[in-house]
């Protein structure tokens, strides 16, 4: 399944070394003593925000809290934030542009764009060192309708990127050359890959897209050097496997049950547990062909990253018929819960509820709506939602949800979970689908009442789920959220504004019109030459900000 496009790394190093010795031994001594970076290792990624000049994984660290310790930009001076440079992709992508979070190491940004472009960019000038573009087949399926990518994973000199034709690739970060590629699934069936790989010690964790087609989701682990697959967790069980009792006794239904895994997950190194959100069952809106809870769709799963074994799960939306994928960043924090320290995982869900779970056991601690919702009133004592209506009567969260994959942030100390909230109203009209492989298989349609939609940035008290503050947007946004220890929150909206807020009060302190909606992306920040930089992707541009001198 895997193909080395140039020699495997160890052999290549030997070859290069022997060439140096035979051709240019005198000069090689000089080069040899200069400090050559071998790139970040696992310990560097594990250290998270400890080195403020780096941002090495999608959320900045494994916890997914997206909260930088940098304080040079603060509420008093944030109004002096100005663009330093803008990078333009030079590609055209209507509707969906940058959704990635750039990684940064040693003054170089590594970022992926739509249509499987990727770049290494000088963080000082905004100029590209190299550009990568994958030759994609012209019969993409899911990848054609959502030609996006959410970023690189990184380890040593390797960058890891997934593709719209459902491959995992390793790219040399120094020149953009593909080292190896490995097929994840058959894109012609409906699969694609769009998420940012999560790199652990000796494995690369990836997920898959395509839950709108007749696909079966999975989470995979790959060897970073060889691309060999180490394990696969199927999000929809096989016949007779645990969880299959929540589906019809029909192998064909299970084999096409959906359950995509198209967002990055989070990782607790002490518990050695991986947390990952699972997407909708297929068909999306037509549930009659799949009676039952349809595990592990719309769930959060905790996996042992050594072997992919399931440790626990919690299903947010049993038997989903509204396309409310649970592909959100699971946010890990250690907080005082009712007076005692507790390791929790928090999720702001597309179904309109904010959840706090014990991340050791999966026990539900809190489930409370953060938007208007008519599908469920509350979460019962059994951990299941108390269902009110099935969507045919209108005014549920629409299929894009009360929030979506745009990352939220957790502000430690204030104990605020800050997320983009979407107030929407939709009526679902299910219809038996044709079930044709390689074709979208929604199973009905949706009527959205655009007159009754709006958005907001909302801060929730994680202990109660109550809203502490909000900032209203005129339309439902897809922008992500990032916070810093200076008491700032950065967020983007659907109208293209990139904004800074006071984390305590929600007061808007600064904004900049980027010229295109901020969709799925959230800001990242790092230190460069002693200055704090803030970056936001928007449309097909990436803009860097710093304080005006």
């Amino acid at each position: 399944m895997c193909k080395f496009l140039i020699l495997p790394l160890p052999a290549r190093l030997v070859l290069v070394k022997s060439l140096w010795l035979s051709l240019c031994c005198g000069w090689s001594l000089v080069v040899g003593v200069s400090a050559q970076s071998n790139g970040p290792d696992y310990q560097d990624i594990l250290a998270g925000f400890a080195d403020p000049e780096r941002w090495l994984t999608y959320s900045g660290d494994y916890s997914g809290i997206r909260h930088s310790p940098l304080t040079l930009i603060n509420p008093d001076n944030v109004s002096q934030l100005r663009p330093v440079w803008t990078f333009q992709t030079g590609t055209t992508t209507r509707g969906r542009g940058f959704e990635a979070t750039p990684l940064v190491d040693d003054g170089v940004l590594y970022v992926t764009g739509s249509n499987n472009y990727a770049w290494a960019i000088d963080a000082r000038s905004g100029r590209a060192f190299w550009t990568y573009r994958r030759n994609l087949p012209d019969d993409l399926t899911y990848g054609a309708s959502a030609p996006v990518n959410r970023g690189f994973g990184m380890l040593g000199n390797q960058l890891f990127m997934v593709t719209l034709d459902a491959f995992l690739m390793a790219i040399d970060r120094r020149n953009g050359v593909v080292l190896w590629e490995c097929k994840l699934a058959d894109y012609q069936t409906g699969y694609a890959a769009t998420m940012a790989p999560l790199v652990l010690d000796d494995r690369v964790i990836v997920g898959i897209s395509g839950g709108e087609y007749r696909t079966r989701g999975f989470i995979d682990a790959y060897d970073p050097q060889s691309g060999e697959r180490l394990w696969r967790f199927n999000t929809i069980p096989g016949p007779g496997e645990p969880g299959s009792e929540t589906w019809p006794d029909d192998p064909d239904v299970l084999a096409a049950g959906g359950g995509g895994t198209w967002m990055n997950g989070s990782y607790d190194s002490e518990l050695n547990l991986l947390y990952w959100g699972i997407g909708n069952p297929n068909p999306d809106y037509f549930g009659d062909s799949r009676p039952g809870d349809n595990l592990y769709s719309n769930s959060l799963v905790a996996l042992n990253p050594d072997n992919g074994e399931l440790q626990w799960y919690y299903q947010f939306t049993p038997h989903d018929i509204n396309d409310w994928d649970s592909n959100h960043m699971p946010v890990l924090a250690d907080i005082h819960w009712q007076g005692a320290p507790r390791k929790v995982v928090m999720v702001g869900n597309r179904n309109g509820f904010f959840y706090v779970l014990d991340r050791v056991t999966g026990e539900l601690l809190l489930g409370k709506p953060f938007t208007a919702t008519t599908w469920a009133r509350e979460i019962g004592n059994d951990g299941r939602p108390v269902i009110l209506n099935d969507g045919s009567q209108g005014c549920l969260p629409d299929p894009w949800g009360s929030t979506n994959f745009m990352p939220p942030t957790f502000y430690p100390g204030l104990d605020l979970f800050i997320l983009t909230a979407r107030e929407t109203c939709a009526t679902f009209v299910p219809e038996e689908p044709a079930n044709i492989p390689g074709q979208a298989n929604f199973g009905g349609t949706v009527l959205i009442d655009f007159e009754r939609s709006s958005g907001a940035l909302r801060a929730l008290d994680v202990h109660t789920g109550e809203m502490v503050w909000e900032f209203a947007y005129p339309s439902p946004s897809f922008g992500g959220v990032t916070s810093t220890a200076a008491g700032l929150v950065f967020a983007g909206d659907h109208e293209g504004n990139f904004m800074a807020f006071d984390a305590t009060t929600g007061e808007n302190l600064w904004h900049y019109q980027t010229g295109s909606r901020i969709w799925g992306a959230a800001a990242m920040t790092f230190l460069l030459d002693g200055k704090q930089m803030v970056l936001i992707p928007s449309g097909t541009t990436l803009t860097a900000f710093a304080l005006q001198n």
Binding site: T93, R94, G95, S145, E212, F442, P476, N497, H511
Partner: protein, 255 residues
Amino acid sequence: MRIPGLIATITLIVLAGSSTAQNVNPLEGDVRAIQGGAALFRSQCATCHGADARGISTIESPDLTLMWSESQRSASEVYDIIRDGVPGSIMPPNGLGETELWMLVAYLQDAGGRGVVNMPPGDPERGIVLFAEHCAECHQAKGKGGALGPHLNQITRRRSLESLISSVRQPAASMSIGFKTVSVQTTNDQLIDGVLKSEDAFSLLLMDRQQNLRGFAKADLRQINRLPDSLMPVFDPSRLSDSELFDIFNFLEQP
């Protein structure tokens, strides 16, 4: 949905007329093809283009019912777009067969073709004069007129007679996005009303009654009022009789 059986029947019709590349949809107006195309549309297209094919403004997907009149697409062009997708956009190529593609085109032709079916008689020459007198200050037709209201090019091919009469007699009943009435008061107590063109958390863009495009920072506005009435006056029969209205529609109907 039992599309395969329907396709088998309709395929014969398509194949019989498909010896060469065609500009005419062999299934245009075929009720079964329109129904099958509608089902295909709901399952394959509606997520982006809306259940009624009128587009979804928040994701900038186009209103496909306007494709025939505004973009003046031919049936074969639409067929090619559905089959090949739109390069550089998120509209993907499609693996549907020839019959299914024509069924989709038939549905879209049906959905887009709901203009005035039986135009009442009227005098288009007199319609020119009446349009200039009552409408042209705010509406554009055939390259002339104002911009405060929607342009009326080919409006009789896009809207039914009932809908056109309603929008003249009761303009506030349905105001399109881009033409909703807004009134703002600036911090230096200027009052400006017009139609709302765009808005975000920090700014508001409108066209004022004098048809100037004006942008405001919300921080510079003391008040923003969204008004239920249209800026278009109510034209009741005492102001514009039915026969005068039909004169205008007949003028607008002319190519």
